[in-house]
């Protein structure tokens, strides 16, 4: 026999369920603009009767006992999440590289501003003017000044490229690793612990999940992380998931743990052999100390490429990206070979001590240390204008053949070698000085163009994934509004049902068994 007041339970459960729906809808609407919020929905299950708990089996039709709110869950697709995070690392890498290359472009680009190429052309024209009156001291002075401008602008290029590199190192160390990476990793670990406690006590901490996902998204932009969950059995009937984050080596497959539940490892940078390396401060796990090779995408990789990239000058396992070190070395090669060319031509009879350019500290000439030789600074006529040896009849020969030789050499094809003083050293480039410089500028421009395209493509894909995520997890005000109306109706209906039951019981109590009253 069915208990009289059992139906009231059904009615009250119905009311509670509708109330819960309305509350959740309200929560969703309130959080429509919250970053990282995943829409929540109520899980309802219908309560059934189970025969084996009753003393007597009930023949005939059985009825359910109403509805139960079994939980409040988030709608989230973890597969989309992992795709989003991989793509985030790629897009962030290209964005970082693009910014760094734009800084370099500001130094080397000469479309709007005069730079090294126009100073070289100017120097050649000053030599032409000197060839008209080779014995004139004032023209020699002007030619020397033009040469000085060339060396000074080489110094500026070198200095500014170093500054770009230092800025990148600063960004990587302070902004990316100290502020973003290490604090995020710590945050995720502490959230892991909080979630674990909540879940152990039976809650579903949706807000904490959202916070953690937001932090993991932020971390995914920095390095190619992989998120794995591991189930842990607490007691009979309760299994909680532990979240681990790690870096994976693409070639050997070894994983380097970054977060393991409540434990976390932080990163630092170290300078070794002129390169910047990433090292791990281990508090768990047994990874190798230097993990630079394991970071294959993300903002960190972008910065590392710009800082360590040597391009064609890379030997062994060095970074082959055309980063700041490549452009510095390219300018050094230019300065060294240019100086060697001019110094050799200035000494046609191999007399020695007739250098036009020297380094300011005695070491091999680079773009950073090239300057006019002290001898030339002391005497503008130090430049050898002619091969003819002075005689008593002709003490200052007025021929301009040596100057024309210099001009022809600067305009003509030459070999740019790794070591300008060694004729057996490998040739890095064969062409005129103008072609070398415009070629270098062209390489940089092409890199910028290429990375702009990569960045645009990566960002488009990222955006599509983000939209897909939103489509599943986002709050739609229209939908919530309709839900509100629907749940309000169901609430009204449940209240109505309650009224009907009340009337029925009232009938039984006050209306039954009264005959003829």
């Amino acid at each position: 026999m069915r208990p009289t007041f059992l139906a009231f339970q059904t009615a009250s459960r119905a009311l509670a369920a509708s109330k819960a729906h309305i509350d959740i809808t309200g929560n969703n609407i309130a959080n429509v603009n919250t970053e990282g919020f995943t829409r929540q929905r109520v899980d309802l299950s219908s309560i059934s009767s189970s025969s084996y708990t009753q003393r007597y089996a009930v023949p005939g039709a059985t009825m359910g006992y109403g509805v139960e709110v079994s939980g409040i869950t988030q709608t989230r697709d973890p597969f989309l999440d992992s795709r989003f995070r991989t793509q985030n690392a790629e897009a962030a890498q290209y964005d970082t590289i693009l910014k760094g290359l734009n800084d370099l472009e500001g130094i080397f680009d000469e479309i709007e501003n005069a730079g090294l190429q126009s100073e070289m052309s100017n120097f050649i024209n000053q030599l032409q003017i000197l060839s008209q009156s080779p014995t004139s001291a004032d023209f020699a002075l002007v030619a020397r000044t033009a040469a000085q401008k060339v060396t000074q602008i080489l110094n500026i290029y070198s200095h500014q490229t170093e500054q770009v590199r230092e800025q990148q190192i600063f960004d990587l160390e302070n902004v990316v690793i100290d502020n973003d990476f290490n604090t995020t990793v710590k945050g995720i670990a502490s959230l892991n612990q909080q979630i674990r406690e909540e879940v152990t006590h039976g809650n579903v901490p949706n807000e904490l999940y959202d916070k953690r996902n937001l932090l993991i998204d932020k971390l995914s932009a920095l390095a190619p992380i992989r998120v794995t969950t591991q189930p842990e059995k607490i007691s009979e009937g309760l299994t909680i998931e532990n979240l681990n984050i790690s870096l994976v080596d693409p070639t050997s497959g070894t994983t380097i743990g970054l977060v393991q539940n409540g434990l976390y490892n932080t990163l630092t940078t170290a300078e070794k052999d002129g390169e910047l390396r990433i090292q791990i401060n281990q508090s768990f796990g047994d990874a190798p100390k230097d993990i630079t090779a394991y970071i294959t995408s993300g903002t960190i990789k972008g910065h590392l490429d710009l800082i360590n990239g040597r391009g064609a000058y890379a030997t062994g396992a060095q970074n082959t990206f055309r980063g700041t070190l490549y452009y510095k070395s390219a300018m050094d090669t230019f300065a060294g070979n240019f100086a060697q060319l001019m110094n050799t031509i200035n000494d046609p009879h191999s007399a020695g001590n007739l250098e036009l350019f020297e380094s300011n500290d005695g070491s091999p000439i680079t773009s950073g240390n090239i300057r006019i030789s002290q001898a030339w600074m002391d005497d503008p006529n130090h430049i050898t204008t002619t091969d003819v040896i002075p005689t008593p009849e002709n003490p200052t020969p007025g021929g301009a053949d040596n100057i024309l030789q210099m001009i022809a050499a600067l305009n003509g094809k030459m070999d740019f070698r790794m070591d300008p003083k060694n004729p057996l050293s490998p040739v890095l480039f064969s062409g005129t000085t103008g072609e070398y410089l415009s070629g270098l500028s062209g390489e940089l421009a092409l890199d910028v163009e290429l990375n702009t395209n990569f960045s645009d493509t990566a960002n488009n894909v990222l955006y599509t994934l983000s939209t897909s995520r939103d489509a599943i997890s986002g709050v739609s005000l229209d939908e919530e509004g309709i839900n509100l109306m629907a749940y309000q109706k169901s609430y009204n209906a449940a209240a109505r049902y309650f009224t009907v039951l009340d009337e029925a019981v009232d009938k039984i109590i006050n209306g039954m068994g009264i005959v003829g009253r």
């Binding site: 429509v32 603009n33 472009e105 680009d109 000469e110 479309i111 709007e112 190429q117 126009s118 052309s121 100017n122 050649i124 024209n125 032409q128 003017i129 060839s131 008209q132 009156s133 014995t135 031509i345 002619t386 005689t391 008593p392 009849e393 002709n394 003490p395 200052t396 020969p397 007025g398 021929g399 301009a400 053949d401 040596n402 024309l404 030789q405 001009i407 022809a408 050499a409 305009n411 103008g434 415009s438 070629g439 500028s441 062209g442 421009a445 092409l446 163009e449 955006y463 939209t467 939103d470 489509a471 599943i472 986002g474 709050v475 739609s476 005000l477 229209d478 509004g481 309709i482 509100l484």
Partner: protein, 333 residues
């Protein structure tokens, strides 16, 4: 697929950003007048632009050299013309002096005038401007023509013109030169290929002549200065030999066309320079046109694009307000 509010707003913001950055880029194009402001916007055009700039700078250098050569040639020309006048003057005087009716006193006067002409010729041969001597070849700082202290004979750059061992070929080839764009070639030992540069100075040796010729058993200098001097000596000497004088006059008349030849040389060089200047000017004009094609933005075209982007931006702004605001809550009661 569900469409959520976040999707609509983020897509809208993205689109507006794209249109704004296009507007910014076009605005830049119009205000700077350049088709591209950084090489990365159009790399191949940038490389061509750099090449063109280098070319134009080289042309500027050649033009400066040509002007310098022209000035020097003009000054040389006027000096050589003066020498021509002097030689003609000398010839007239000598013809007068050789005339049999002249007395010894009159001959002595003519001799003095001839010596005068000699001095003027020496001065003109040593002509200079801005401390650079015209006719000394690459010797620009010392007087090219001097007199031997022992014999008083003319020396060119320290070489006696009468000397049979005179290296005339080397002295004639010694001239100042500049690069006017004929592709200067230098061989491995530093010797310049003479056909690839432009020589713009006349070696004085070419004007005066050199060497000696035997006349009546005597070695007579062939160069104009010493020849005129020998003539003067003959006229003022006590043992005047009219046969010798006539032979000397004949030699002078044979030698004086050298000066005319030098003038022709200058004329030929000058007209060659005019020809090269013409070509360089045409090249400069063409290069400038090409530079405009590569580097300059067409302002009319750019402004039209800008206006149409502006219209697109306004349309996007208007439409955006219509889709962001309304939702079902506006219609619920």
């Amino acid at each position: 697929m569900r469409i959520t509010n976040r999707m609509i707003t983020s897509k809208y913001v993205r689109s507006l950003n794209q249109i704004s950055s296009d507007l910014n880029r076009l605005n830049n194009k119009v205000t700077s007048g350049r088709a591209f402001t950084k090489a990365s916007e159009n790399t191949s055009a940038a490389i061509r632009a750099y090449q063109l700039r280098r070319d134009m700078s080289k042309s500027e250098g050649f033009m400066a050299n040509i002007q310098h050569a022209e000035t020097t040639l003009r000054n040389s020309e006027s000096s050589i013309m003066h020498i021509q006048e002097l030689v003609q003057n000398a010839q007239t005087k000598i013809i007068q002096g050789v005339n049999g009716t002249q007395s010894e006193g009159e001959r002595k006067i003519i001799a003095t005038e001839l010596r005068n002409i000699q001095d003027q010729m020496l001065q003109t041969l040593n002509g200079s401007s801005s401390d650079m001597y015209y006719f000394g070849g690459t010797n620009t700082t010392e007087k090219p023509f001097t007199l031997d202290s022992a014999t008083g004979k003319l020396m060119y750059n320290g070489n006696l013109l009468d000397d049979p061992a005179l290296d005339s070929a080397a002295l004639l080839a010694d001239s100042r030169f500049v690069d006017i764009g004929l592709n200067v070639r230098v061989d491995a030992s530093g010797v310049i290929d003479n056909t690839s540069v432009f020589k713009y100075s006349i070696p004085g040796l070419q004007i005066t002549g050199y060497g000696t010729e035997e006349i009546n058993g005597e070695d007579v200098s062939s160069n104009l200065y010493d020849l005129i001097g020998r003539m003067a000596t003959e006229l003022e000497s006590g043992t005047y030999d009219s046969d010798m004088a006539n032979k000397l006059l004949g030699k002078l008349q044979e030698t004086s066309p050298k000066v005319v030849h030098a003038l022709t040389d200058v004329g030929a060089k000058t007209s060659y320079l005019e020809f090269i200047t013409d070509r360089l000017e045409t090249k400069e004009f063409n290069d400038q046109e090409r530079q405009m094609e590569i580097e300059a933005a067409d302002p009319a075209e750019t402004i039209i694009y800008f206006k149409s982007q502006e219209a697109a931006y306004n349309a996007a702004l208007q439409m955006g307000t219509k889709i962001i605001q309304p939702s079902i809550f506006d219609y619920m009661n």
